[in-house]
Point group: C2
Chain length 232, copies 2
């Protein structure tokens, strides 16, 4: 059986469903069949079938026509996958020199194959990192995850200094562009202008003082922490 050849885990499909549902829950609320289908690029009827199996296994609760919610076991399994994914991404970038825009895909495959033991060895080799290369928090082995209180760059007021903290790892072209601007988690900047009507944001780097215009859509994907300090 497939599941048996895998380390303390469920099938690849199951793990992908759990991760997607976790993600939908934590950023939207209800995870409906259609949302899951869109997230996994799978036809809705296939999702219905899988949802049935998963709720029979006690990983989620399903209210027909209403949506789905992870049980405690489902949440635990999902967070385990998130940890694996983020530890892998961190390891690949810092120990094997992979670019931050390429590690997502690789981690997406490895997260289903690596043993828990190896993940912990990687974590130790990295010094138990708390964030992955894109700034996303890494759940602990016990399943605790930090929920950082971030705002997107479009919401940072003019004149305020903020720090980039997190960029989604899912669009590697975006990541390449962001890196080319010199923006990475930890980089501080001041918002010097914001155009209305979903217009661009202008920032000035604290180090280097260089100015940069950033389109609204991109700015919205950049999660920042405000450094509570006004600038003259």
């Amino acid at each position: 059986m497939i599941a048996d050849s895998r380390p303390a885990g469920y099938s690849k499909s199951t793990e992908d469903y759990l991760k997607a549902i976790y993600w939908l829950e934590s950023s939207g609320g209800a995870a409906q069949t259609g949302d899951i289908a869109a997230a996994l690029d799978i036809a809705p009827p296939s999702v219905s079938g899988m949802v049935k199996r998963l709720s029979e296994s006690g990983l989620l609760e399903h209210v027909p026509y209403r949506g789905v919610q992870l049980t405690r076991a489902g949440r635990r399994a999902a967070l385990r996958m998130v940890r694996r994914h983020r530890i892998l991404e961190t390891y690949l970038t810092s120990k094997l020199g992979c670019d931050w825009d390429s590690v997502h895909e690789e981690a997406e495959r490895l997260e289903h194959a690596v043993s828990d033991e190896l993940i912990e060895r990687m974590a130790i080799a990295l010094g138990n990192p708390r964030y992955d290369p894109h700034g996303a928090p890494i759940p602990t082995a016990e399943g605790e995850i930090e929920e950082p209180d971030l705002v997107s760059m479009t919401e940072v007021p003019v004149g305020i200094i903020a720090e980039l903290r997190m960029v989604s790892d899912k669009d590697s072209e975006r990541l390449r562009y962001v890196a080319s601007l010199g923006l990475r988690p930890g980089v501080a900047f001041e918002v010097t202008a914001r155009q209305p009507f979903r217009g661009p944001v202008t920032i000035r780097f604290v180090r280097g003082r260089k100015e940069q215009v950033i389109g609204h859509e991109l700015a919205q994907a950049l999660q920042c922490m405000i450094v509570q300090r006004e600038v003259g």
Copy 2:
């Protein structure tokens, strides 16, 4: 489709079949259905079906009731898997501190998931090793493999100095025991006695001069290179 989610490869099953057939060919001659079934712990009829699919994909030639032979493409794919497996084992032991008796299982899963690029990054990080931790030669990325000319410890004449070069990675208990004796690839010893009728072999380590009795079955699994030098 499954294959599409995998890096430049075939399905996990296909890869396992190719590896097993490669192994049978290089150590026995013909690979018959039953041999493959035994090697993979699968029922013979299942092998018949898979062999059919594989020969339709041009990975092997099948003569009914006679056996199977890898085509050029099949051999290339098999050697790619052998390289992946052995690079992984080497990486896990030297960079992540895994024991040599535990890496086989882990590599067995990862070899199906890792991208070619990552394998090459690992190889570079390791300095393009030629042997894995068990002494097995690592094929090059181009598919060349060294065929070392080794004899099992039972065949080393008394009074001759030899060097352990290779131990199969498949039995982890055996590996643990071998390591506990201080035997690893590269360790030199002299055979001081050989009992007839499949009896034990006695060796004396060159470094340390300690003597050790080794049962016939174990000695047969230890592949050695004779160091052409008589000892007084």
